[in-house]
């Protein structure tokens, strides 16, 4: 590459404010200059004259750079970021407001504020991150997620025989699996097999946590991602062959799910008919249904007569966490319940539609993995908070501090994809900084 061309491209690059767009924006200019120079030399020009003519034909570097700068700008998502911050603040406020008076069950003020700050920080950090880095380092991220799962399971705190931190980490596994599939791009049949078998360690950690909700989310979101990737010929083995193989793997994965459903037979039966087991699996659902039967359109519901003088907080287990939507309906009324549910569903459904329309294939996979998981969680949580309880599903943003941080991080990931959707799929490796040693003879 002639030094004059480098100087020209450096000058044009300085006018493009978004540094991440520079390599892509200038790549064609570089090729054009080189080919134009060759063409002029074939016409009989000397090399310096051909370089001069190619540069003259291209136009002034600063003007070209400014024109490219106007096109290559990040698509900021301030409105969605603002709405998410508002929703997170409203969730924290409601958690304090509706648990006031129950000192041992209300959120710890300092921890909750720190969690909100941490969650917003994680969302901002992921929003500004070049998400394509995740694809490049997919193998390391995948291995780190497995190791972290095993470490938290072995050494972390266990509550009711379940590894507390592992259960929360498992909620991120759909996104980790999306990154893993992204990393396997163009790796052929080896990539397809690694995608199939790569899901197994993640599923095993969800099982030993144990966390049925996490396992279900991983299987559901993972299947969608795998089928979509194979349908886009992500692995490079052809659409039909890849999709056929992915479909066979997904059908095979249904067998353990059928086993799981069979094992949960009593729970499923109790979810539909909680009155058949009112003091066992049906207890939670019965308490929720009894309390909701008295819920008003606005205002606090009276405690159901079957519970005598017991306050609501002693009747519904997990009233301040995974059943917080029931608490909203009983303490504030159905209006606020529908507002909270509507806000969550509208946000995640809108994000999912945007994610599916993305121009960048890896960005699509990543954003869908994060947002589909949140949407499924919300749907499951709403069903559960209406008194159909199979397994407990965390309510995004509302269920606790860790859930809030994870939700905000996943939203940040999706918004990062939307922000940088005009960048090419693969990130060019950053050029090594060139140092020049200048000796000045006195």
């Amino acid at each position: 590459m002639p030094e004059r061309f480098n100087e020209y491209l450096d000058q044009a690059a300085r006018s493009i404010r978004w540094r991440r767009a520079r390599p892509f924006a200038l790549r064609e200019l570089r090729t054009h200059l080189l080919e134009q120079k060759d063409a002029f030399m074939e016409e009989g020009m000397s090399e310096p004259a051909a370089e001069e003519a190619a540069l003259r034909d291209m136009g002034e570097a600063e003007a070209v750079g400014k024109a490219l700068d106007g096109v290559h700008r990040p698509r900021e998502q301030w409105l969605l970021l603002g709405l998410t911050v508002l929703l997170a603040c409203a969730a924290v406020f409601l958690r304090f407001y509706l648990t006031a008076g129950f000192e041992f069950e209300s959120p710890h003020p300092l921890r909750t504020v720190l969690a909100l700050a941490g969650g917003l920080g994680a969302m901002a950090a992921l929003y500004f991150l070049d998400y394509r880095v995740l694809m490049r380092h997919g193998e390391k991220i995948y291995i780190a997620a497995i190791l972290l799962g095993l470490l938290t399971w072995r050494f972390g705190p266990h509550v009711n025989s379940a590894a507390w931190h592992t259960r929360h980490l498992v909620l991120l596994y759909p996104a980790v699996y999306g990154i893993w599939i992204g990393y396997l791009r163009g790796k052929g049949w080896k990539g397809i097999f690694l995608a199939i078998f790569g899901g197994i360690p993640l599923a095993v950690i969800a099982c030993i946590a144990p966390y049925v909700t996490g396992l279900f989310l991983l299987l559901a979101v993972g299947s969608v991602l795998f089928l979509c990737a194979a349908g886009m010929d992500w692995f490079g083995v052809g659409r039909t062959a890849g999709f056929g193989m992915a479909a066979a793997a997904v059908i095979a994965a249904v067998i353990p799910i059928k086993g799981l459903i069979y094992a949960m037979g009593r729970r499923l039966e109790a979810a539909l008919h909680p009155e058949s087991d009112p003091l066992g699996y049906g207890y939670q659902a019965m308490s929720v249904r009894n309390m909701l039967s008295g819920a008003q359109w606005q205002g606090e519901a009276p405690v159901a007569s079957v519970y005598g003088d017991y306050p609501y907080e002693y009747i519904v287990p997990e009233w301040n966490a995974d059943f917080f939507l029931t608490t909203i309906a009983c303490k504030l009324g159905w209006l606020f319940f529908f507002l909270a549910v509507g806000a969550l569903l509208a946000l995640f459904a809108f994000l999912l539609v945007r994610a599916c329309r993305g121009r960048n294939a890896f960005g699509r996979l990543l954003a869908v993995s994060a947002v589909l998981s949140l949407l499924l969680q919300t749907v499951g949580a709403v069903i559960q908070n209406l008194g159909f309880v199979v397994v407990t599903v965390p309510i995004p943003l509302f269920s606790g501090n860790l859930v809030m941080i994870l939700t905000l991080a996943q939203i940040g990931l999706a918004l990062s994809v939307f922000r940088q959707q005009d960048l090419p799929e693969t990130q060019e490796k950053p050029a090594r900084r060139r140092w020049k040693l200048v000796l000045v003879a006195e």
């Binding site: 790549r27 064609e28 090729t31 054009h32 080919e35 136009g59 570097a61 070209v64 024109a67 490219l68």
Partner: protein, 82 residues
């Protein structure tokens, strides 16, 4: 592309090559054209018109013909009183 434009317009539209790429990238973002890339030491991008692009072209062409026709009719209308 620039050469073709220059030839078809009898040298009226003689653009610098550097003006072409921002236009192409902008059209690509709008979904009017799509590109695929050929890897190599000198990576090349090939562009082609999408259905959205064809529709946008047809609309612009209609608008331009209406505008140019109106200007011609004004110019050919003869003397008028101010």
């Amino acid at each position: 592309m620039i050469e073709e434009l220059r030839r078809r317009s009898d040298d009226t539209f003689s653009l610098k090559a550097g003006t072409l790429y921002p236009l192409l990238h902008s059209l690509e973002q709008q979904g009017c054209i799509t590109a695929w890339e050929e890897d190599g030491p000198r990576p090349r991008r090939y562009y082609h018109l999408t259905e959205t692009g064809k529709a946008a072209l047809a609309q612009k062409e209609t608008e331009w013909r209406a505008y140019a026709g109106a200007v011609l009719r004004v110019l050919e209308g003869g003397a008028c009183l101010a």
